[in-house]
Amino acid sequence: MALLQISEPGKSTDPHNRKLTIGIDLGTTNSLVASVISGEAKILEDNNYRLIPSRVLYEQDQILVGNDIPSHAVSIINSVKRLIGKKKDDINANDIALDLADSNDIFIQTPQGFKSPIQVSSDILKKLKKIASDYFGDEIYGAVITVPAYFNEGQRQATKEAAKLAGIDVLRLINEPTAAAYAYGLDTKKEGVFVVYDLGGGTFDISILQFNQGVFEVIATNGNSSLGGDDFDQIIKNYLINKYQLNSQGLEEQAHLNLIAKYIKEKLSSQNTFNETIKFNNQNYQIDISLSEIEESFIPLVDKTIQCVKNALNDANLSIDEIDGVIMVGGSTRMPTIQNHMKQFFNQDLLNDLNPDEVVAIGAARQAFVLSGQAVDDDTLLLDVTPLSLGIETMGDLVERIIPRNSTIPIAKAQEFTTYKDGQTMMKIHVVQGEREKVSENRSLGEFVVKDIPPMPAGAAKIKVTFQVDADSLLTVSAEEQTTGTKTSIEIKPSYSINENEIRKMLEDSFTNAEDDKKFRSLAELIIDANQILELTEKALHNDQQLLSDHEKTTIEKCMNNLKSEITKKNPSKIKQVTDELNNASMSFAQKRMDRSIHSALTGKNINEINK
């Protein structure tokens, strides 16, 4: 069976209607996808990888993305985010070692033809969407995608187009720093000014956010698009080469050293010294580096970031003591050198207890959850609720509840109903209020009739019934016949002439009679099924009895009579048993009818006609 997640109070979704939402951090170097599952934002992994490199490899017959790309591959498209939504005039073509088509629009040549940055981004997004839909085993309802705060309208539009191309419904694009603020729950605060310090692999962004009346506004941005964690790796690499006299001539050696440097940087983020034997050029080196001996050389880079922070504060006309919080984003912010300098600069503790690589995706996932209406924000607790369930009468004197009790209003819910008999042209919509299964034990609020339903076989007509309760508790029930679009409706004030005590009593009755109601419903459902089978069998006998031997016919008729008499006796297990008997008795009859209609559909036609 399907696996369920825990919903927020009152937010359980209907089966097949689960709103699976995701947050996507579409990064320059790496991307992530996350989702809120049982109240907890969680990174969805791609074969145990949490980070999906934002790189695409087009081959003749396939497209590989992220971790699927073999390490030795060449012609990989990297950092396409730097190109999205841009024209050739906007970029310095010398910076990008790619084949570009000869127009002002940017196209990248691949074995699958020219690809626009939007197409490349959409292939990354497709991969992220697939990770999520594979995880849930279900379709994704919608996504929140993050973009840098400095993205202009064109870049945002291009990101949306990429999502559309990937088949993703974008609930909203939000700024990366805003997502980080959501992840830290800063949207639950009254108001404040926050700095987001985002040091990625190759880019540095600083954003100042103002949270006011429930909205985050970016009031200043600054940064350096060619400063990132990689620059710190370079410093360590050069230090290694000098200290251990390493030969770093070839490209391969350079690449290997980059990896070693990154590894050392990560180690020195959680410990003060690095002492390990490293294999390089088939030789073992005992590497001993302390944080203190190398920290000095990081200072110029840290100062560069501080200059950006100062510029942003200047633009926003803010002084350091007006900052209410500083959020650290990006893996490189784990480095103690950066942590210490920022703490000192802002003169306060940093918001750094979430994983800085994941904080943007986590915030996006939370926001997607909220935007799809699955979160309970504390304000809604003050809103009015429906004191009793609202529903309509269906076959068998049963109530189908459309709006459950304790739903916050305003609310609108729709459900489709169909006809019970062949050629049925009218349907009564009887609106009731209460918790009991039997119509007569609920309050009747009113009724109306849907007329002029086009004659169709039973079950083919579609009548969409919508219940809408507005903020003043006014209930509007409308029914729309889907083929003709004819709409009929009534307005009712459900709270009219009912007081607290009566509501209380109706609730208590439903609790004390729960067991009886359950029996009533299951019996009613059995009888509906039984009657439907009787009717179908009768119709079939009427049309096709020549297909049956006398013996078969007698058996079926005997079963039918048995069932008719059991229905009047109302013993559920007997009804079930005799219904099954009738089903079994008429099985070969149904088979013969099926064979015959296939036969008549195919006879006298040649194979080409059938294939049409």
Binding site: L3, Q5, I6, S38, G39, R401, F511, S522
Partner: protein, 107 residues
């Protein structure tokens, strides 16, 4: 009879409640909808209703309104993994029929 959790489910609920930062337990129930009669509901609970029945399993409080209880009495809530997906599973002795997806059922 009662509604219970497996140890695995209880551990998960405890973890989820902790990360949510509020809530006094789980609320289990049914609603009449879906392709096969009834559907389960599984929610965090912040404020109990006076009529709710309360069960306790591995220190987790489980609240069920009396109307739902007749459909799910005896249920054991498990936490399972299917492929990549993981989540909660109702082992409900009252169920006669399930729709293919298992999200709704008849008794």
């Amino acid at each position: 009879m009662a509604v219970t959790l497996t140890k695995k489910a209880a551990d998960r609920v405890e973890k989820y409640l902790a990360s949510r930062g509020k809530g006094i337990g789980l609320k289990l129930g049914v609603k009449t909808t879906g392709c096969s009669g009834m559907a389960y509901t599984l929610e965090f609970l912040d404020e109990p209703n006076p009529e709710d029945q309360v069960f306790e399993s591995f220190d987790i409080k489980i609240f069920v309104d009396p109307k739902s209880l007749v459909y799910i009495d005896g249920t054991e809530l498990d936490f399972a993994r299917e492929g990549l997906n993981e989540g909660f599973k109702f082992n409900n002795p009252n169920v006669k029929d399930e729709c293919g997806c298992g999200e709704s059922f008849t008794v």
